[in-house]
Symmetry: C2
Subunit: 198 residues, 2 copies
């Protein structure tokens, strides 16, 4: 029943990437903004990404000061006192990269794999031609094609980002009419649906 | 494909409860401790619980000062400035109750339903007789039996709590040998596996 387990060194075989986008995203009023980095989002996302075989998680923010902040957090846990205090956290955070734009990330992955990466946007509501989880799960089992799952902070990815993506994933549906998960919860559920051994 | 959607008023029909236990749990050294409440755990858990049809989420902590802290957080969002700022957060947090002990919670649910609640512990490693998600999902569809899902903060539920539970749920397995999810991520994934429309 168990899928093949990737050991640490096997992560080089993974073709799944994750992007945590801070711009352009909507704020609660529907305005396009750049959000601030949330420390806990980085930790939780890195731990989920490591558990579910993501190769690299990109924290994407165009502001120098925000990228520097993430750099300081990462150094604390990878080289600083945090590395000794919690080696498992170090291992999870080592797969984080910090970049300014989504375009830069797309180019970097495409160059590394010598083929265009396909982008998979996520959104809390149904989009036209949303791809179901089972279908996406099958696509992800088809190397060498790399995929970049894009999550929006704030109130979500802008229409332009959604429309420019190769796929938009179906929204997460619970069994209530309440549907307002945190980014941390949504990331965890989506990675489990796509990659988990269930 | 969609399961029946519970509207706000239908939540009275739900027989699923959730407990966030702060004592007794292990610390990183394997000592039994009482952990401090994490503000974000309460928010994230309430939002997940509301999405996946949990009737009441119990924050369980034996320390008066910690329960008072949770009370202040809840009042801010339910009656205070937070209620106007974010009505959706208010709705999620309204289903939180704060209690001192797991025993008190078990008695409260059992009395409300006029039958003993069955407890379902969660743990990051395989326990003897762990129940798989598919089987647990079937059990949860069988009202009027109430179930209490118990999550441990810190480094997890103590052996005594696991052994005293009616069920222990199978651990979450990703596809890597890294398996150190945050409580927030684990709660989200487990509720989705048990209650989500996938």
């Amino acid at each position: 029943m168990r899928r093949e387990t990737l050991q640490n060194d096997d992560m080089d075989l993974s073709t799944l990437y994750l992007g945590l986008l801070h711009y352009p995203v909507y704020d609660r009023g529907g305005r396009v903004v750049c959000t601030a980095v949330t420390n806990l989002d980085i930790h939780d996302t890195a731990r989920c990404a490591s558990t579910f075989g993501v190769r690299i998680t990109y924290v994407i923010n165009p502001l120098d000061s925000q990228r520097e902040l993430v750099g300081r957090i990462l150094r604390h846990w990878i080289e600083g006192p945090g590395a000794h205090y919690n080696p498992l956290r170090k291992r999870a955070l080592e797969q984080i990269r910090v970049r300014a734009t989504l375009g830069e990330v797309v180019r970097e992955i495409s160059e590394a794999h010598q083929m265009p990466v396909l982008t998979v946007a996520t959104d809390a509501s149904w989009q036209d031609n949303a791809i179901p989880y089972g279908k996406m799960r099958e696509l992800l089992l088809d190397p060498p094609q790399p995929y970049l799952l894009v999550f929006g902070t704030g109130w979500g990815l802008t229409r332009e980002v959604l429309e420019a993506s190769d796929y938009v994933l179906a929204p997460i549906e619970g069994i209530s009419d309440y549907n307002h998960l945190s980014l941390r919860a949504a990331t965890a559920i989506i990675l489990d649906r796509l990659m988990g051994d269930r």
